[in-house]
Symmetry: C2
């Protein structure tokens, strides 16, 4: 999971579950194209071309162009949820769990920026049914982070007045990394993850009663 993953164009990562091979190649091509140009500006000819196939080949594996986006979005959201769940359910104090959640969530958004961009910013391009399905996953993502913050408030480690609003802000901060992060920029995903974990701990008031920006 934290082995040599993606950096620039590759980012093949978690698409291993998609079979057969041609369908996976098309999906990866679609992710790259959607991230670069946006869903609506991407043509099926472009996707097929990137995958080294003719335009018609796409329709053997997917019913429509939207189905491609739907599949990408669902797999991406499931991955994001898994990352947060892992951090949330490990043992440790709320402070440690929140720092872990934020830093790994941010690393995913920065390192897999291509995928994350599509997952987080092309939601409105989905039809109503697919959109509703994805929104249910997003509510689970929200609940996971809110759970950690509530734990911290309960234990007295955090000092938060508006738990819902703060949860929203924390997630918003992490998600927006996919918009601005530049692979050629001065920061590595790990550095941004560490910086953001520190900033988020400050936001929830961790370390107001104890020293917390260690590690």
């Amino acid at each position: 999971m934290s082995t040599a993953e993606e950096t620039a164009g590759g980012e093949a990562q978690a698409w291993g579950e998609v079979t057969p091979d041609a369908a996976r190649r098309l999906l990866i091509a679609a992710v790259e194209a959607f991230a670069e140009r946006g869903y609506h500006a991407t043509t099926t000819r472009d996707i097929a071309g990137r995958a080294g196939m003719s335009p018609a080949a796409l329709y053997i594996h997917y019913k429509t162009k939207e189905e491609l986006l739907h599949r990408i979005s669902r797999i991406g959201h499931e991955k994001a949820l898994e990352i947060l769940r892992t951090a949330s359910r490990r043992e440790g104090s709320p402070t440690e769990r929140l720092a872990d959640a934020v830093s790994s969530f941010v690393r995913w958004h920065a390192g897999g920026r291509t995928t994350a961009r599509v997952v987080q910013y092309e939601l409105d391009s989905l039809g109503p049914d697919a959109r509703a399905e994805i929104l249910a996953l997003r509510r689970q993502v929200d609940a996971e982070v809110r759970g950690i913050i509530e734990d911290g408030v309960r234990s007295g480690e955090f000092e938060v007045i508006d738990v819902h609003g703060t949860t929203l802000a924390v997630l918003s901060l992490c998600i927006d990394v996919a918009r601005w992060f530049n692979v050629d920029g001065p920061r590595t995903p790990e550095e941004v993850g560490a910086l953001y974990a520190d900033l988020v701990l400050r936001m929830v008031g961790a370390g107001a009663s104890a020293a917390a920006s260690q590690k």
Copy 2:
């Protein structure tokens, strides 16, 4: 400036400078359409229709569809920059100036969500020249916020290790409001502005040496 501005569909606000009247109506129609569907998914027929005109009328006032986006983006960024400059150059401590900057910047993103969405998220739909012009404005926006944070660090009010990274995070947090804010949701723009000002002051460590989350 803080009079009864926009709430839902209206949001006519700062487009007063655009003349003649027909050109302004087209511009407002374009903002609404771009915000709703995205630039690439919006048709010139849709824009003209919303403005109560025929598709051809658009080309009397604008050379291309992209020129509409360019104009919207430039006016929007100038407005955003003006808001931050006003907060940055008023008198007061860095803490007060930063809180003012964040809360007014957030209010603009939440209240004028329609406009802000287009301004912040359709940048990539511009051609290279227009894009470069807008990016120059964004660097000024960044510099304005960084200036306040640097002042706070210098005066000892703030405790920030990575000034550039923290500036980026603060701006990112504010900008992303345009993505998730819902006019029909439970929070008013003013409430989000106040919450975010508090969160940002925590992020920069204001009140670590003095009480700061007052007001």
